[in-house]
Amino acid sequence: MSDQALSRPADSEALEALPPTPRQVILRRARRHRGLLIGGVILLALAAVALFAPLLAPHDPTAQSLAHRLLPPAWAQGGKAEFLLGTDQNGRDYLSRLIYGTRVSLMVGFGAASIGLIIGVTLGIMAGYFGGLIDHAVSFLLTAQLALPGLLLAMALVFIIGPSVWVVIAIVGVLHWNYYLVVTRAATMRLRSLDFVAASDAMGASAWQTLSHEVLPNLAGQIIVIFTFELGIAILAESSLSFLGVGIQPPTPSWGLMIAEGKQSMFYRPWLVVLPGIALFLLVIGANLFGDGLRDVTSPQGRN
């Protein structure tokens, strides 16, 4: 072997089988991760329910029928087949309301989680990348935001401004960006210290070019994971607000609202309270399982 060849070994490394690409690793892990798969299926199923609600629901969820008030489910005594799960105190079909409730929850969840993402990630990247005074200001802002009793403030603001779906989405979103901020800031600071970012600076890239080409692709995974968790948090927040009467207002079907409406008669008709609760639980646990699974699958060392 010539000396020249020794400084440029080309094919002796070809004998080694090629290790998988990052994407292959993730897909391989994903296929085996039960939580991820279960959560994903639940989310897809509920998203389908929301999408095809008009086809699935037997009745208009807001249509009142005083003649058919407080009917028990079809299998109990006095129930009617056309109202499979019974009706509520205004004669509205419970099953239809349950199905349409998926739309409300998912809309609020996605909307609020997205607003939180925009605020939190922007602040986090700025604080983590530029540091200094900006970082101090953002950290202070974070502490102040954490100190605010979220639920209380949300209740007060929604009530005062006027309860509607958009107000709920906006306020829940604006009060839930701290998780995004903390994680994005820490990740950006860590990335900032890595040499490939310095290399980007050294080749003459502007701050924006470095941020978008080098930093953001490495943040995307973590941000998506947080989004799935915030989805669940936003959905629970909306249901709490609606339950207390300061969120979604009737006749719009919100699961939290349905639980509040059913509270009066919950001892005789427990399903009025149990069913929407199970729906909420299912949706949120689907999101959380999916998020947990996503985190396990994309983290560098595999399962946490």
């Binding site: 000396d3 020794l6 440029r8 002796s12 070809a14 080694e16 990052p22 050294a202 692709p217």
Partner: protein, 613 residues
Amino acid sequence: MGSDILLSVRDLDISLDTPSGVLKAVRATSFDLRRGESLGIVGESGSGKSMTAFALMRLLPRIARATSTRLDLAGERLDAIGDAEFFDRIAGQRISMIFQEPMTSLNPVYTVGRQITEASVRSGRLGRVAARRRAVELLERVGLPEPSQTLSKYPHQFSGGQRQRLMIAMALMNEPELIIADEPTTALDVTIQAQIMTLLADLRREFGMAMILISHDLGVIAESVENVMVMYAGEVVEQGPATAVLSAPRHPYTRGLLAAAPGMEGPPHRLGAIAGVVPTLFGDPRLCVFASRCPHAGPICRSERPPQQTAGPRHHYSCVLRPAEIGGLPDARAGEPLPPPPRSEREIFRANRVSREYHRRKGLFGAVQTILAVDSVDLVVKRGETFALVGESGSGKTTLARILTGLDTPTAGEVLLDGRPLADVGRRERAKLIQPIFQDPYGSLNPRRTVAEIIERPLVISGTGGRAERQKAVRETMDLVGLPQRVLHNYPSQMSGGQRQRVAIARALVTRPAALVCDEPTSALDVSVQAQILNLLVDLQQELQLTYFLITHDLAVVHQTASRIAVMRGGRIVETGPAREVLAAPKEEYTRLLLSSVPRLRNPASRAAETGR
């Protein structure tokens, strides 16, 4: 002679349960250690040297299992006693261990005194008062000032070198018969390293302890141990007295390793490099593990286990070639001498009284501290030469390098780039002249981008040419640095450390800059890979007429590559001059100290005469 054998190991196997199968990290390792003797285990990454040490102390991770046919300590069968007894009587009592990272190896929430004395007190060996007294004695012995006050301090109040001394004192509390040191000085500066190794040698003699020293640094091994065991890919390929193995190695891997290590003696020559990478082998392979990289491999090497050969008293190696045949092979070390890089008188860098101050304030009420990282530095780098900036941690060399690359601005003084003030040179223009190479091949490439994207990026930023032109430039540069075309769409995680560093070099060269600022470009690489990269850098300099500004703490690398040197300490330049002159006849005290601290692979006869061993 059998009665003074302290540790006897036969057929040590360590298996790891990985998702891809059972990986044998260590295979059939056997050795003997006499009382008071020292054994060095040397190898690169993946050799299994650290695993062997951890197995002796039962500190292996959960997924690992160790088996052996014999594991005796002074005749007692260690593999027969349960964990409870082992940790009660043996660990910390008869065998002690010191680790690689002194910064994280001590518990931050307890005082030093408590940590040093707790093992003795718990085992009932010493009462509390007696333990403290002994601790103070040992702290003094290891060279820590104010020992009694040290006891009530916390680890974070000490430097890395001091913490390692603390660890040594702690290991000696119970007068162990054997001390295992896993890369004890790798994380420390070279001057501190010399002090710690001397300390260990003195203490060993005083207490009559045996020592197992694990290291990847051949120089450290050469200067500190009597016997050597060379490991590769989980197996022992050669072992014997250090003088024999290091001056007349037999196994082709040992020969290759010694040829690849840059030395401090004689004129620099082309380093012998070992082609390829360490293989990952599952189960028990029925071949010679080095066959894939051995320049003398034959078909039998790939189908059968190599036999054990004897080269001298207690000197064995596993190879199909007999000692006489090895003796007939050409000298692995005789690479061609390197011509000095061509120099012009044109300056590319000039620093005039450059300083960099940092202001730090601890909290809202603390006093403002001013740190002078770079203090009034003057230097000149001419086109075409290799200028080495040498210093230990805290010397300011990295800060100075960042200033020259334009990643930081000086608080005083001026930097001229190609005759013009650096402040006036635009970002893009500066990028065309200088490019950096970093130390850590893992951190210097974006894990989410392919090799093609990484190498192309500088061209995209500088707005050069169209897509087709850029891709052509990328392919040409890959050829230049020895990267095969098939890795074009690989991600960094699919490549070895050496390959990644080549990608980093390609990225730096794709715009054909005039100078490369290299910050410890090979410090994170194995010796054999380092040799490949150093040879590559030398070749590239000739082909592209590059200027190198090299920052390093490794004087052997400096000796190998530099034409001029500046020695830096505490932010100031202590000595400058042509490399040969400064290294042969240093004028300053500190330079002399640095040079004398570097552990060397010297002529064994002269070394034996020096140390009386």
